[in-house]
Amino acid sequence: MNQGEVLLSGQNITQRWGGLVALDKVSVEIERGELHAVIGTNGAGKSTLINILSGELKPTEGQVTLLDQDVTHWSQPRRARNGLGRSYQRNTIFPDFSVFENCRLAAQAQVQRPWVWWNNSQKCQLSSTNARNGIRLAGLEAFSDQVAGPLSHGQKRQLEVAMCLATNPQVLLLDEPLAGMGAEETERMLALLGQLKAGHGILLVEHDMDAVFRIADRITVMVNGSVIASDTPDNIRTNPAVQTAYLGDH
């Protein structure tokens, strides 16, 4: 695995809603081994960007490249099967299923066979192995057999990441994984992200500034649909444009 290899990139992405410009020629790159955080005020276009990268939205203009392939016109599921995992701001877990079954079902997406009605899904080797792998990486082994609904909020966020990992992604798009977490839960999640970045490229959209500046390798700052700076945390901290536009607001 080449550290530093560009896994996912968006070039000159523009999104217009009628006359409103939500994104204006935004470019981002996510490299393997890198934790790339995107910050910005509400309405800066972070969610739109992540939705375009993941394939939920088709950009008005611009190109998305995943592992050297132009995927601009690929559907979200197709991108997901080719190495792109994403988590949502709100939990998208299956509350009635066990932790294991949550991950197994996610992993099952690698085998697209809607006509197979006779096999017992529980005996599927591939999806079980990948599910266990995701659970282990996310540090949820102890809860594998528990029903997901009653888990704590932090554990559900971990499960959300575990479900991404179960699909064997190269790139992770994480939408506010720390939202609503307590201090201890945040620490655990940050440790998890730190481990994961060794083998993956991670794009993180997050509001918790302390956390972002502690763990990110690169920070991209967005204001009103444009990127105003993209640099290391130290340089971002001292960037005057960022200070006036964003950090100065506090």
């Binding site: 299956f94 509350p95 079902l105 197979v116 009605w117 529980q122 009653p150």
Partner: protein
């Protein structure tokens, strides 16, 4: 996810009771139960869509009716058809229409989907009602009961009874296996959170279409059985009243459980017979829709989990007690909405 012993025993007992019923039932009763079993097959087909996949189809009667019309139209006029050919043909005809309706309606979501399935069912209704093909509002009679050479005479009520029961058991087992499979688990995932399924890499459309076509095919099977029993078809078989009744059956029994569809079909038909009974209501029995309508409203309002949820409901009311497993589930549900 393993098979729950209690549930398996419960369902086994229902089938056993059905198998033993002819020992005590008269010919009216056998005919009635036969009819209910056909409705149970239909309700199971709808449960696959509504309960398992979360697709609210308000046009299930169309697939039932198309299976039935196919049975009559494809039978020769002067001889009995072989069921080896006729039965698959009916299932295929219904499944093909389901493919057409599903392919289009699944492009829409939510309330749209309900409206579109209803409208397409109405389209099938007009086709059999208005065109020369369907014989108008009087329908068509089938003069020769289809059979299998000479040894399976479906004209005999008792033989037909066990034939129907066999298909009911088959449908139940088929769906139970299906729901455990890759397809079934994906459908469950789509019902609970389609967004997550898409993000995991599932192209969900073919899964939903597979469920839709399978469901339509099973409804066609029920249509075939109906024709064999009654010997005629008419456009009312495709009416939206039947589609509504079927939805009511599965929610009355308990949505999300195959055995709910089974219980619901029986409960609904008996409810209907009750309101229709002149012995109880006298002349007022001709207004049986009134009682039925009120019961539908009340049971959905009070008992949204259906008869399966009844023990839990009674427990709650009488003792204010919830067992821990149910509490977990309830929390899980709340989480889904929050």
């Amino acid at each position: 996810m393993g098979i729950d012993k209690g549930k398996a025993v419960f369902v086994g007992l229902i089938f056993l009771a059905l198998a033993l019923y002819p020992l005590v039932g008269d010919s009216y009763g056998i005919g009635l139960i036969n009819k209910v079993m056909i409705y149970a097959i239909l309700a199971l087909s709808l449960e696959l869509l509504v309960g398992s996949t979360g697709l609210i189809c308000f046009g299930q009667a169309a697939f039932f009716g198309i299976g039935a019309y196919a049975a009559v139209l494809l039978s020769p006029e002067d001889a009995a058809a072989s069921i080896w050919l006729l039965l698959p043909a009916c299932v295929l005809a219904a499944a093909l229409y389901a493919l057409f309706v599903g392919a289009l309606s699944l492009r829409t979501k939510g309330v749209y989907f309900i409206m579109v399935t209803l409208a397409f069912a109405q389209m099938a209704y007009y086709v059999v009602h208005d065109t020369a093909l369907g014989g108008g509002s009087d329908g068509i009679y089938l003069y020769y009961v289809p059979g299998m050479d000479t040894w399976l005479d479906l004209g005999k009520p008792l033989i037909l009874y066990f034939f129907t029961l066999l298909f009911l058991v088959w449908t139940f087992v088929f769906l139970a296996i299906l729901l455990r499979s890759h397809l079934g688990r994906a459908l469950a995932g789509i019902r609970i959170n389609e967004q997550r399924m898409l993000a995991s890499g599932f192209t969900t459309y073919p899964y939903k279409l597979a469920a839709f076509v399978t469901s339509g095919g099973i409804a066609g099977l029920a249509g075939f059985l109906f024709v064999v029993q009654d010997g005629f078809v008419n456009p009312e078989m495709l009416s939206w009243h039947l589609s509504g009744s079927l939805l009511m059956m599965i929610i009355l029994g308990g949505l999300g459980h195959l055995r709910g569809a089974l219980i619901g079909a029986f409960a609904f038909v008996f409810l209907q017979e009750f309101f229709k009974s002149t012995a109880i209501f006298g002349d007022f029995a001709k207004h049986w829709h009134l009682g039925l309508g009120l019961t539908i409203i009340l049971s959905v309002a009070i008992l949204p989990k259906g008869l399966i949820g009844l023990p839990e409901w009674v427990q709650m009311r009488l003792f204010g007690y919830r067992n821990p497993r149910q509490v977990e589930r309830a929390d899980a549900r709340e989480d889904r909405h929050s």
